[in-house]
Amino acid sequence: MSAVARVRAQFEGAGRRRSIRLLGASGQLGYGIPTPAFEAGLAREPDLIGCDMGSTDIGPSYLGRGEMATAPDATRRDLRKVLLGARRKNIPLVIGSAGSAGAAPHLDATLAIVREIARAEGLHFRLGVLRADIPKPVLHAALRAGEVRSFDASPPLTEEDIDAASNIVAQMGTSAMQRALAADVDVVIAGRACDTAIFASLPGMIGFPMGLAVHMAKIIECASLCCVPGGRDSILATLDEDGFELESMAPQRRATPVSVAAHSLYEQGDPYTVSEPEGRLDLREARYEAIDDRRTRVTGARWQEASENWVKLEGARLVGERAVLLAGAADPRFIARAETILAEVAEVVRELVCENTPQDYSLFWRVYGANGVRASVPPGEAPPNEVFILGECIAPTRARAAEVVRTMKQYLLHHGYPGRQSTAGNLAFPFTPPEVSIGPAYRFNIYHLMRAHDLDALFPLEVEML
């Protein structure tokens, strides 16, 4: 009997169901899972371990390149920890948004590590794999059928965007995850997934109220971040028919009514609603009560089933090769004129590297100490004593980007300006070479909603015996 079947069997039959315990082991698998809290969580006999592994927060490069944001060794260590824990307790393990961005290369890299761990540790289990890649012909057809919408005012999707994207995923919801759980597996590893699907799917299929399950999931997918002090230690949620209780597995972290309520603000545009492919979570009536100084009980979330299913798409396309120049400056006259000097140097470089051809690269200056973080500096701010200059070039090839920043380095170093006293050089290089080739640069070019007539077909399931 699989771990999922074993857990589900405990909730079958007449009479009042017992509550279900879910262990949020990690909000970002691959950045370290503190062992004491994870072990404390396992000692509480949870019914499921869940881990989120990705998001769009990290920017478009990982999705575009097909690479993980986390270090391979750290990812392996965390996966090993949760796999061993789940198999020891014979409970389901659910991992969403595998490999940081959840497209095929990320999922496959995650699966390779999982297989390697299973071999090394002599683990045998049924693995459900859910893919989240959207084939380009599917998206083209949806676009032509008028079934793609902008999201957060994204520019209208074009056929060219679809063709240019290197990876396109959709966020799966509970229905995909439940299909995997129903296939009698021990472990589910999903490509791009709503973080709520990781934890809400099992309680939902057992029959717990969906509003409560999704609300609980939304909180525990970040582990103990909803506590004071917030942190990455595992968290235990205990869900019943009327509400759920939250308790961090790290003794110093307290889940208080205010800290838990405030978590609804985190990375969410609206603390009262969460939209998912299968419906909408309504938190306007949610209530938070202290059980004691470390535990909070939450009630009142409502779930509104969607009449149509729309999935959120994410895609990234290559925009060129990136190279940067790293340099400091401390001369007050240089700093006072930096904006003008940088514009003049950009022009000098353009004339040299382009001669009579059109400029084929983009150049971005960020002057840290002045406008590195903020696009504009408020008037009246005192000038900084030192600045750090990041010169960035995005060009069609790696060689071209390197050529531009190397030329830029030389002309910025020696650029003359009125009143210049430091005539031997304008820049302090922390090391040489001060030019770095970063590699391919991507941007999110797809952030849209697509109508899904058949959610099952969109997120295919494969079951593998390890």
Partner: protein, 100 residues
């Protein structure tokens, strides 16, 4: 009194790659009510600070979390060429000096 003198938390972060969300959180209900009822955090004032139109800025009061949330479009999609803050975690500073 400035907002940074009364708020416990003033933070910003992406809410997806195309939106920025700012949370102003308070240590107790009295501080929250004082700021919420002052109307100092209104859409048009915040829009001016961020170079946006008032209709682009949503201000949401959230008493259960003793917080006021502000959501606005990002100038550039996260990670687009020229972006300065991929996570959007350092875009809160224009709020610090708001006079109450």
């Amino acid at each position: 009194m400035r907002l940074q003198d009364i708020a416990q938390v003033i933070r910003s972060k992406n809410a997806g790659p195309r939106k920025l969300t700012l949370d102003v959180m308070f240590a107790d209900d009295a501080d929250y009510r004082r700021v919420a009822s002052s109307g100092a955090l209104n859409a048009s004032r915040i829009a001016t600070l961020y170079g946006l139109e008032a209709q682009d800025v949503a201000v949401i009061e959230y008493p259960l979390g003793r917080a006021i949330k502000i959501t606005m479009p990002r100038r550039l999609t996260s990670g687009d060429p020229g972006d300065r803050d991929v996570y959007g975690a350092q875009q809160h500073t224009p709020l610090l000096g708001i006079e109450l």
